[in-house]
Symmetry: C2
Subunit: 370 residues, 2 copies
């Protein structure tokens, strides 16, 4: 199953809005076929792996990260291909989380005499397709919020704690690598205008270069600047700038466009780009998964609008005392928002990592492994 | 060893400035003697347990949470009592962390032919005496900071999220019980004037009532109010009020004293009680361990003055969006303070608990178990 996962994790062009799936065929203890789903309109992972195995599949075992589909979509049902291949056993990571539409694959295969096992490395297999699951098959864009704070809730130190020209790293190397790996898995990485001005971030996945279980291409970078007041350019060649409608006819857009920024004009509310409008525009560009990296104003506007699906927080064992913290001057939710549940708690060197999800990960996991 | 720990944990009057120690004697699989150190001038745990066992100790095993002392202080050396009892084996939780003063007990016993084992339930045994260890035998007061925040770093909601007359609980029942258990282990629980006014807290350990592994008496409650401007009383009969020297001759003290508050006048700095002076006054009252529970201004002043030994943070899976957060208008440390290290990371129902210590707990643990 690890090999099947690896097949899916490293797919070069992200498969969204389709879920990534990997498969391998094993015969006499050796891998004889490999396959991964490469994206919309492409073959599913199972037929690719079975074709790769050819005659060797007969009597062997198919490992697949997600339950084979039993319906005809843009491609034929995978269950038919599995049957035709002659494999004797099918080991499935997790059940299809949306059984009413496409499930029933495992039952179909069992009824035809195959030995079917479900729930192998289920956590990793669910993680692989989580953006797809969390958004109910991308009925909306998947938003992953990333924050990194000190123990006393600061995003960055005040100017007096910054050394001129030196980037200030709150978190350690392991946390930063983790962020870069996560960037590689999303379509768009987004920050606020303030972060661009303060940090000139590259927003790429350079620390994950060479890691075989993430795509090697970088996500598209972008920033939000309602009035296009930032005129200092951006360190990447092609990037998106989300501006307010009111900036469409101003002069400020010229410099931004000359620098390589592609401007998308969003609806505004109280002088700021409306987060929902921003995400709808991203969807029209086939950007299905977005990582929002702050600053706190952008983070808060996404969060308080209820648009964050997953919140990844890195906490460094540092006390700053002063510096950038959550804004207190705009409206939060009207009632305490208790909609997040803990998915993961970890230590990355000296930092803490905790991941909360809007859709309950553990409950979903329980549902797709029985 | 669990039984020995339990003996020490439930001692009614805290043993500070002496470390709590528990001991049991086991013979033929049954406990035949129990003892705990009860505080300064009282017998150590080992002689109490051995006396309780009497002749039955001969050939038995002594379990003790801390290495027996090998020096004569207010009581004779415990190692002599152990030898005289005739036990054949001694099982020790952790070595004495301060071997130059009082260690060598294990070696002494080994040299005299006893079977000695070290490092049983060492984490709990070190936890038991941590305030003593973290402050180098109470060369200063042990300060435990407790905070409870939402995911977005708020201590409490803004007034618009509070229901009239209803206390607002950010964290769950399990976290609140944990706080009450920790309160029972300290001498003084301290809050700021703002917290008294907003919450009228009892600051007792009522949710830990009946738990046998914590003292049944409540800690002394106290609050900080530099100018004694809070005149609304306090829900407990006897409590301390830490005020500034400048309030000594004002009229405000009358009402506070009538209500049962005992006022201690501290040095002031920039119009606020100086945290160091407050702790020095507490020490003169034999208050060796203090739990600071906020609000954020009091928490910050202790933290940024470098006076916090242990920081216990509960994080609730709630987004508030608005409300009380860290103050941004007073001086934090001049350089990022990277002095805390993670001791514990846990889940309490839906909340996260993380404990950071100024003195490295894991490194100390490694030192007292070899």
């Amino acid at each position: 199953m690890s090999a099947a996962l690896a097949m899916a994790q490293g797919v070069e062009n992200r498969t969204w809005p389709n879920p990534p799936v990997g498969a391998v065929v094993v015969k006499d203890g050796a891998i004889v076929g490999r396959g991964a789903h490469l994206g919309p309109g492409q073959l599913h992972a199972e037929p690719v792996a079975l074709a790769d195995a050819g005659d060797k599949a007969r009597g062997g075992t198919l490992y697949v990260t997600l339950e084979p589909c039993n319906h005809t979509g843009r491609t034929g049902p995978c269950t038919e291909a599995v049957l035709a291949s002659g494999v004797a056993r099918v080991v499935i990571g997790i059940r299809d989380p949306n059984p009413t539409v496409s499930g029933g694959g495992a039952r179909f295969l069992r009824e035809r005499g195959l030995d079917v096992e479900i729930g192998i490395l289920p956590e990793s297999c669910l993680e692989l397709i989580w953006p797809f699951v969390a958004t109910d098959n991308f009925t909306r864009v998947f938003v992953e919020l990333k924050t990194a704070t000190s123990l006393d809730g600061r995003f960055a130190p005040g100017p007096e704690l910054r050394q001129d020209g030196q980037p200030f790293y709150l978190t350690g190397e392991a946390s930063r690598c983790d962020v870069h790996r996560r960037r590689r898995r999303v379509d768009l990485v987004l920050v606020g205008e303030g972060t661009v001005a303060a940090d000139q971030p590259l927003l790429n996945g350079r620390l994950a270069m060479g890691d075989h279980d993430v795509p090697q291409t970088d996500p598209l970078p972008g920033y939000v600047d309602t009035d296009l007041s930032w005129q200092g350019g951006f360190a990447r060649e092609h990037y998106l700038v989300f501006a307010g409608e009111s900036a469409r006819h101003g002069k400020a857009r010229l410099k931004v466009e000359q620098d390589g920024g592609e401007i998308l004009f969003c609806a505004e509310k109280a002088g700021h780009v409306e987060p929902k409008s921003l995400l709808e525009l991203a969807a029209t560009r086939d950007l299905f998964t977005v990582m929002v990296e702050g600053g706190p104003r952008l983070a808060g506007s996404m969060l308080f609008a209820g648009l964050v699906d997953r919140w990844i927080n890195y906490m460094a064992p540092v006390v700053l005392g002063r510096g950038v913290t959550w804004p207190n001057d705009f409206a939060g939710p009207n009632v305490p928002d208790r909609g997040f549940s803990l998915t993961r708690l970890d230590q990355l060197e000296k930092d803490l990592l905790f991941i909360h999800d809007r859709k309950n990960f553990s409950a979903t996991l329980a549902r797709v492994t029985i």
